[in-house]
């Protein structure tokens, strides 16, 4: 029964091949194949989930493995690992991908490359499904790279826009930096443990900590290198720069990337290799602090952005920071729980933003306003998502965020009080920027009413776009409750170690988090709805900080500077070396040497018989002299 898991990544790959080779001409058939396949995968995932629940603990996890390559003593396998973590991911990925594909039917309706779009979506989802089902590091890496490739294709889907072409290259290159570290980590791990299967490696680590095989230093190195990969893929500081630019792709893609497929891969990878991370205190502390820093760093940038998708992108960065922080402080369940609940409301936010962009044909929030009246469903679902991400009880974001706060509170990481402070302050910033966005777009009176000729264009989106949003809104409200205190279904399913560990539920923390979230909303409403205070005045008062935030801390400029002077300098050096040493010295040089040799030898070919005779006699004389001694 569990072997149907093989079909979960395979079916979307088959649908990709079918669309690309055969049905590209027909929009209807292509999208139909893609959506039906995704629906099948979703049903399969649910079947696996239900069946898995009835398995006794001793029978878990289920591991299918087939040999792939045998190189002397190294056995490489390909396989599928079914455990609570991967089940969580396959259900989530197929669910979000299914909704995004249905949504895309409406959103991409008039795109000439509609079928190609669906084929990429299938491939993208297939890669992510293969990634989460991997049972060894190498397979994980292969699908990891495939996810990177698909994100490149989809971010650059509108490749004729120069900004999209640049953004997809940027995403690819930045990811490559992280992936280099990741690959190094896998190689180091292979050299240390002589195995790549998760179960084998993790067993060795568990044993090794007792017997001294694989020193703590080696494990710390491996964990930090693996974390490089997660930093790239999950867009943590300092490799976060690609994610806001990735907004150049179609909006449903942003929803998919931000919610389930791409950025979740990094967090998932940390959770998957948690045995490695938790074996090293240094690595865990690094993970926690990088996550915490990214959370607050991105939230401050999000306060000042004007582009609706960019605000959401920075909010994703910030929320990913939360997840990484949670994993870093030992909150395995909290991290994965936030990943899952975040997937629902962030997908909803992006789909809502897509719906707004679809009718407004602009991304600038200041050109929108009062849309709640004209787009009721979009407005209300967006509000639900915003309440959820802000952490207002009882929306699902509240429960998962609270779980993270509890995890930080009860952790042993050095300075966890600071991290808790950062996390709570970030929660305040989150509700502030999210409601700034909501009030400006849906309640404020934007500039569009001045151009009345544009007004008639604002309309509610078609039902193909609204239905996925309503489903997601439902999930954003109710999903979190499954892990409410005394219920804790999620904690009982996904946990690290031998038995569920739920951080103690604290009423104090609930009050604090609700309070900061509410105060953020109130502050946002005073600034952007009731206009009691002027945001411009505040911005002018702290103009150096405002400029710094507006320009995203000048990180992009700093990287351009680095690229200009170091990368291009190095490239120029390499070019010089190639031109003058490789081409000039070695390639042309060897040719020139042969020519010179030839020119020298040509002189003895005089065509005069007597010269030849002289050589013959001379040679005989020399031979005679040699022989006679």
């Amino acid at each position: 029964m569990f072997s149907i898991a093989w079909w979960i990544p395979l079916l979307p790959i088959l649908s990709f091949i079918t669309i690309v080779l055969f049905t590209k001409k027909s929009k209807l058939i292509s999208s139909g194949i893609s959506i039906l396949v995704m629906l099948t995968c979703f049903i399969f995932s649910i079947m696996i989930f239900i069946r898995f629940l009835s398995l006794p603990l001793s029978a878990r996890p289920i591991n299918f493995s087939v040999p792939w390559m045998i190189i002397s003593s190294l056995h490489l396998n390909i396989g599928i690992l079914i455990d609570p973590l991967s089940i969580n991911m396959i259900v989530l990925v197929t669910f979000i991908s299914l909704l995004v594909q249905i949504y895309s039917l409406g959103y991409m309706k008039n795109d000439p490359r509609f079928s190609v779009y669906f084929s990429y979506l299938s491939l993208f989802t297939a890669s992510m499904l293969g990634l989460v089902l991997s049972n060894n590091y190498l397979q994980l890496f292969i699908f990891w790279e495939l996810v990177g490739l698909c994100s490149y294709l989809l971010i650059g889907f509108w490749y004729f826009k120069p900004s999209a072409a640049t953004a997809c290259k940027k995403a690819f290159v930045v990811n490559r930096i992280g992936d280099f570290g990741f690959l190094m980590g896998i190689i180091t791990l292979g050299l240390t443990f002589h195995a790549f299967d998760f179960q084998a490696v993790h067993q060795k680590i568990a044993l090794g900590l007792n017997n001294g095989v694989g020193s703590t230093a080696a494990i710390t190195l491996i964990a930090l290198l693996l974390f490089c990969g997660a930093v790239g893929k999950s867009a943590q500081f300092p490799l976060h720069v690609w994610l806001p630019d990735a907004m150049e792709g179609p909006t449903p893609i942003s929803a998919l990337i931000h919610a389930a497929t791409m950025v979740a891969a990094g967090v998932f990878m940390i959770a998957r290799t948690y045995q490695v991370f938790s074996a090293s205190t240094v690595a865990m502390t690094t993970v926690a602090y990088v996550g915490g820093f990214t959370a607050i760093f991105a939230a401050t940038i999000a306060l000042t952005q004007d582009d609706i998708k960019r605000i959401l992108a920075y909010s994703t960065l910030s929320q990913l920071g939360y997840m990484v922080l949670a994993l870093g402080v030992g909150g395995y369940t909290a991290g994965m729980f936030h990943l899952t609940s975040h997937a629902f409301f962030k997908a909803l936010l992006f789909l809502g933003a897509g719906s707004v962009i679809h009718s407004m044909e602009t991304n600038d929030i200041w050109k929108m306003g009062g849309l709640l009246k004209k787009m009721k469903v979009t407005g209300i679902t967006f509000l639900i998502a915003a309440l959820s991400i802000s952490g207002i009880p009882p929306f699902s974001g509240f429960w998962s965020k609270d779980e993270i706060f509890d995890a930080i509170q009860s952790s042993h990481v050095q300075g966890h009080q600071i991290l808790l402070g950062i996390a709570i302050f970030t929660a305040f910033l989150t509700s502030l920027y999210m409601f700034r966005l909501f009030f400006v777009v849906f309640l404020g009176n934007g500039h569009h009413e001045e151009d009345s000729h544009e007004n008639h264009a604002i309309h509610e989106s078609p039902w193909t776009m609204l239905v996925p949003m309503i489903i997601l809104a439902f999930m954003s409200i109710f999903f979190g409750m499954i892990n409410a205190p005394h219920l804790g279904l999620y904690s009982k399913f996904i946990y690290y170690g031998s038995h569920p560990q739920k951080a103690p539920f604290s009423i104090k923390m609930v009050l604090i988090s609700s309070l900061v979230a509410t105060s953020g909303i109130i502050l946002a409403s005073l600034f952007y709805w009731q206009k009691v205070f002027s945001a411009k005045a505040v911005a002018n008062a702290i103009s150096p900080i405002y400029t710094l935030l507006k320009n995203k801390y000048y990180i992009d400029e700093f990287y351009s500077f680095l690229a200009k002077y170091f990368v291009f300098g190095l490239a120029a050096l390499c070019a010089w070396f190639d031109k003058y040493v490789v081409d000039g010295g070695m390639v042309d040089g060897s040719g020139k040497l042969i020519c010179a040799f030839g020119r020298g030898l040509r002189k003895i070919e005089t065509g005069k018989i007597q010269n030849y005779a002289l050589v013959i006699f001379g040679a005989i004389a020399v031979i005679y002299l040699i022989m006679s001694f």
């Binding site: 065509g607 005069k608 007597q610 002289l614 006699f617």
Partner: protein, 102 residues
């Protein structure tokens, strides 16, 4: 009784003169004469050793007869070629006649 060394000195001298003639002369007929000298130097050597062994075998003298015969034939053919070359080029200098396809 003349010692065998004297014959060998003579033969070496004649051979060297022949080599010198072959290498230095530009006139084809002189080159041919150099070759004849070298052949005859070899003949002298063969006969000298035959005499040194007291004419016990006749291999050497028989060889000499063969060499003289073939040298005569060779000289006849070579001279015939030279004459036809001279008729064509009005010259018999070996340096000038590089190409047989003229």
């Amino acid at each position: 009784m003349i010692p065998v060394q004297d014959f060998l000195y003579l033969a070496g001298l004649i051979f060297s003169i022949g080599v010198f003639g072959v290498l230095s002369r530009r006139n084809a007929i002189s080159v041919l004469m150099g070759i004849e000298l070298m052949l005859n130097a070899v003949n002298i050597n063969l006969l000298a050793f035959a005499k040194f062994w007291g004419w016990t075998t006749l291999n050497g003298p028989v060889f000499v007869v063969f060499i003289i015969t073939i040298a005569a034939g060779e000289a006849a053919v070579a001279l015939a070629i030279f004459i036809s070359i001279y008729r064509k080029f009005k010259d018999i200098n070996v340096d000038e006649i590089k190409y047989l396809n003229h």
